[in-house]
C-alpha cells in the first residue's frame, strides 16, 4: 500500500491572546490520494481551523501548533520561504466560503488566475492567460472569454464560486481544501457546484477535504465523513455507515435534528444545550454535558480513539460499539 497523501497526527492548535482557546485537540486522520473526506461539524468545532492549519494560514505569533502534518511526504510544519509558497497553491489549495471576499476586487478574475499560474510555473504571460481561460471553461463558466475580463463584483455568486474553483485548481494541486464552498449559495446553485466538484475530482484524481455543516452536502460529495465536536474528531467512517448507523451519540443527535417530511409536526429530538466554550473545555469528553448516555467516567477522562477497519470512534458509551476484535 502506498503512503497516504495526507497524514495528520496528534494535531493541536491553540490561539493565544487575552485568553487561550484550544481550537484543535489531538486530531489525527489520514487521507489517501483520490479520496474525498467530508469534515462535518457545527460552528466552533474546528473544521475550518484544520484546513487553515493545513495551509499554515494562521499567524505564527499567536498560534501554537503541535503535532505532525505530512502532505505528499513533506513535513508541512517545517516548510519555510519559497518551499512554503510553492506548497500553497501548488500542492494544496483552498476554496473559501465567501468567493466575494477571497478575490481581489481591483483585478479581473482572469488576471488573478493567470498570476497564480505564473507564480508557480516558469511560463510567459500569454500562455498563462491561455491556461487561465481553459480553467474558466473547465469549470463551466458560460462565455468564459468574456468573463475572463470581468471583475469579481460583476459575477453572480455561483459564477464567482466557479471562478474560485478555477483559481484553486489552476496549478493542479494534489489536495483541494473546500471550506463550506456552497453555504452562501442558493439551493439550485449549490447542487450545481457540488456536482461540478464531484466531476472535477473524478477527472483530476485529486484528494478533497470538504468542510461543511450540512450533512446533505457531505453525502453528495464525500467518500468518508469525519464528525468533529469541540476540536476533536469524535467519529469517522464511510458515508453510508455515518448516515445509516451512527455510533457516536453526537452524530446520532445531528441526524435526528435534521428536519424533513418524516418528523413533520412532531417535536424534534434536539440535542440539548449548546457547544462548549473552547477556552474552558470540560475535562473528559466535551460532549458529556449534552449527552443522554453520559456517565461519571465520561466527565472524568476523555475516551480514547479506537479504530476498526476504516472507522474510528471516541466514545465510552457508543450506540453501536465495535465488535470485539477476534
Amino acid at each position: 500500500m502506498s503512503a497516504p497523501l495526507v497524514s495528520i497526527r496528534d494535531l493541536s492548535v491553540q490561539f493565544r491572546g487575552n485568553r487561550t482557546v484550544s481550537a484543535l485537540n489531538q486530531v489525527s486522520f489520514e487521507l489517501g490520494s483520490g479520496e474525498v473526506l467530508g469534515l462535518l461539524g457545527e460552528s466552533g468545532s474546528g473544521k475550518s481551523v484544520t484546513l487553515r492549519t493545513l495551509l499554515r494560514l494562521h499567524p505564527e505569533r499567536t498560534t501554537q501548533v503541535r503535532g505532525h502534518i505530512q502532505v505528499a511526504r513533506q513535513e508541512v510544519l517545517a516548510l519555510q520561504g519559497r518551499e512554503l509558497q510553492l506548497y500553497r497553491g501548488g500542492t494544496v489549495s483552498m476554496v473559501f466560503q465567501e468567493p466575494g471576499m477571497a478575490f481581489d476586487p481591483v483585478y479581473t478574475i482572469g488576471q488573478q488566475i493567470a498570476e497564480a499560474i505564473q507564480a508557480h510555473e516558469a511560463i510567459d504571460a500569454a500562455s498563462a492567460r491561455q491556461q487561465a481561460l481553459r480553467m474558466l471553461e473547465r469549470v463551466q463558466i458560460p462565455q468564459a472569454r468574456r468573463r475572463f475580463d470581468a471583475y469579481p463584483h460583476e459575477l453572480s455568486g455561483g459564477m464567482r464560486q466557479r471562478a474560485m474553483i478555477a483559481l484553486a485548481l489552476a496549478c493542479k494541486p494534489k489536495l483541494l481544501l473546500a471550506d463550506e464552498p456552497t453555504t452562501a449559495l442558493d439551493a439550485t446553485v449549490q447542487i450545481q457546484i457540488l456536482l461540478l466538484l464531484r466531476e472535477l475530482q473524478r477527472e483530476t484524481g485529486m484528494s478533497v477535504i470538504f468542510v461543511t455543516h450540512d450533512i446533505g452536502a457531505a453525502v453528495e460529495v464525500a467518500d468518508r465523513i469525519a464528525v468533529m465536536y469541540a476540536g476533536r474528531i469524535v467519529e469517522q467512517g464511510p458515508v453510508a455507515q455515518i448516515v445509516g448507523k451512527p455510533r457516536h451519540p453526537y452524530t446520532a443527535g445531528l441526524l435526528a435534528s435534521t428536519v424533513g417530511a418524516a418528523n413533520r409536526g412532531k417535536p424534534l429530538m434536539a440535542v440539548p444545550g449548546s457547544p462548549p466554550d473552547l477556552a474552558a473545555l470540560p475535562p473528559g469528553c466535551s460532549f458529556a454535558p449534552r449527552c443522554a448516555s453520559a456517565s461519571n467516567q465520561c466527565s472524568r477522562e476523555f475516551p480514547p480513539v479506537r479504530s476498526q477497519d476504516d472507522q474510528t470512534l471516541a466514545c465510552w458509551h457508543p450506540l453501536h460499539p465495535f465488535t470485539e476484535a477476534a
Binding site: E42, I215, E220
Partner: protein, 354 residues
C-alpha cells in the same frame, strides 16, 4: 392614556375563525437603481411585483425562494418597515392604515418580527432584560410591570432570568440570542409573528431546539406565523401553507402536502429536487436547473422563469401567466401556462409529472 388601555386589552378575535388574519393584495415595491452618468432611463429593481396572499388564523404560512426573490422585502412591507408602492392589507377584517381601519401603531403591536441576524437585531448597550422590557415601556407599561414581564418571557424561552437577565447580547451564544429575540417579539402578545430566516444562522442541533420552542409557543399563545426561509426542510417541517416566490412574484402556493407532494410549477419541482439527497447510494446525478436566478432589474417578459425553464415555449414569452387553481383545487394555485389549457402551451402539468 389611551395607549396603555389599548396595550393591556386582551387580544380578541374580531373577525371570527374563518376570517384570515392577514390578507395582502397586490403588494408592489420597486427600488430605483442609480444609473450611470450617461444613462437616461431610470432602472428599477422589481423586488415585489404584485404579491397577493392570505394567512389563516393559527396557521403557518411558509414563504420559500432563492435570494433576490423578494421574500424578505415582502416581510418588511407587511411590517411596514418600508412603505409599499401600492397594494393593501387587511388585518382581521380591518384595513391597515386606512380610513376606518386599524391604526398603524395598533397593527404593529399585533405583529412582531424576528430577524435572521440575532446579534444585529439586539441593542448592544442594553441588557437582554432591558431589551425585552423596552417595547412595553414605550407603549406605556409601568417599569416594574414591564420588568416582570421580561423575566417571565425569558423563563418561558428557556433562559433562566436570574442568570441571563443582566447579560449583554455579546455574552450569549447565537441560539440564546435568537431566544431573546423571540421573547422580545412576544412581549406585545402579538397575533402574527413574522420569522424572517429566524433559524437560518443557527447550528443544526440548536436550530432544532428553537424550532421546538416556536412550535410550543404557537400552540400555547394561538400565534400565527409567517415563516420565511430558503431552507426547504425547515419550511416543510413548520408550515401549513407554502408560497413559492421567484423574482418578486408568487409562482405557486398551496397546502404543504400539495407543494411537496405534487408541485405543479417547474420551478418548485426544480427547487425541491435541488435538495441534496441523504442517501449515499442514490446521489443526485444531474442538476435540475442551470445558471443563477436572473437579475431582478430587467426581469424577462412574460413568465419570469422561462429562461431557465425546460418546458418554455413561445407563449411563455408572450404572455404573463396568472395564478390559477390546479385541477379544481382552489387552495392550490400555480402561475404557469401549462396549467392553463387555453394558453396555447402544448405540454400540460400531467404530462411532465410522469
Amino acid at each position: 392614556m389611551n395607549t396603555t388601555v389599548a396595550y393591556q386589552a386582551p387580544v380578541h378575535d374580531r373577525g371570527g375563525p374563518a376570517q384570515p388574519l392577514l390578507v395582502v393584495r397586490d403588494l408592489k415595491k420597486y427600488f430605483a437603481v442609480r444609473g450611470g452618468l450617461l444613462e437616461r432611463t431610470r432602472k428599477f429593481v422589481h423586488a415585489v411585483d404584485g404579491v397577493s396572499f392570505s394567512v389563516l388564523k393559527g396557521k403557518t404560512l411558509g414563504i420559500v425562494g432563492e435570494s433576490g426573490c423578494g421574500k424578505s422585502t415582502t416581510a418588511r412591507l407587511i411590517a411596514r418597515l418600508m412603505t409599499p408602492d401600492s397594494g393593501s392589507m387587511i388585518f382581521d377584517g380591518d384595513g391597515v392604515a386606512e380610513f376606518g381601519g386599524i391604526e398603524l401603531k395598533e397593527f404593529r403591536r399585533n405583529l412582531q418580527m424576528v430577524f435572521q441576524d440575532s446579534f444585529a437585531s439586539l441593542n448592544p448597550r442594553l441588557t437582554i432584560a432591558e431589551t425585552i422590557a423596552y417595547g412595553p415601556r414605550v407603549h406605556g407599561v409601568p417599569a416594574a410591570q414591564a420588568n416582570r414581564l421580561a423575566r417571565e418571557l425569558l423563563a418561558r424561552v428557556g433562559l433562566e432570568p436570574g442568570q441571563f437577565g443582566s447579560r449583554y447580547p455579546h455574552e450569549l451564544s447565537g441560539g440564546q440570542r435568537q431566544r431573546v429575540n423571540i421573547a422580545r417579539a412576544l412581549a406585545f402578545s402579538p397575533r402574527l409573528v413574522i420569522l424572517d430566516e429566524a433559524v437560518a444562522a443557527l447550528d443544526k442541533s440548536v436550530q432544532a431546539q428553537v424550532l421546538n420552542l416556536l412550535q410550543e409557543l404557537k400552540a400555547e399563545r394561538q400565534l400565527t406565523y409567517l415563516f420565511i426561509s430558503h431552507d426547504l426542510h425547515v419550511v416543510h417541517y413548520l408550515s401549513d401553507q407554502v408560497m413559492v416566490m421567484y423574482l418578486g412574484q408568487v409562482v405557486e402556493s398551496g397546502p404543504v402536502e400539495h407543494i411537496y407532494g405534487k408541485a405543479a410549477h417547474p420551478y418548485t419541482r426544480a427547487l425541491l429536487s435541488a435538495v441534496p439527497s441523504m442517501d449515499p447510494h442514490h446521489r443526485t446525478q444531474a442538476s435540475p436547473l442551470n445558471g443563477d436566478p436572473p437579475n431582478p432589474i430587467n426581469p424577462p417578459s412574460g413568465c419570469r422563469f422561462r429562461d431557465r425553464c425546460p418546458h418554455a415555449q413561445p407563449v411563455c414569452e408572450a404572455r404573463t401567466p396568472t395564478l390559477m387553481a390546479v385541477g379544481g383545487n382552489v387552495s392550490h394555485q400555480v402561475a404557469c401556462h401549462m396549467n392553463d389549457l387555453l394558453s396555447g402551451q402544448f405540454e400540460t402539468i400531467q404530462e411532465i409529472s410522469v
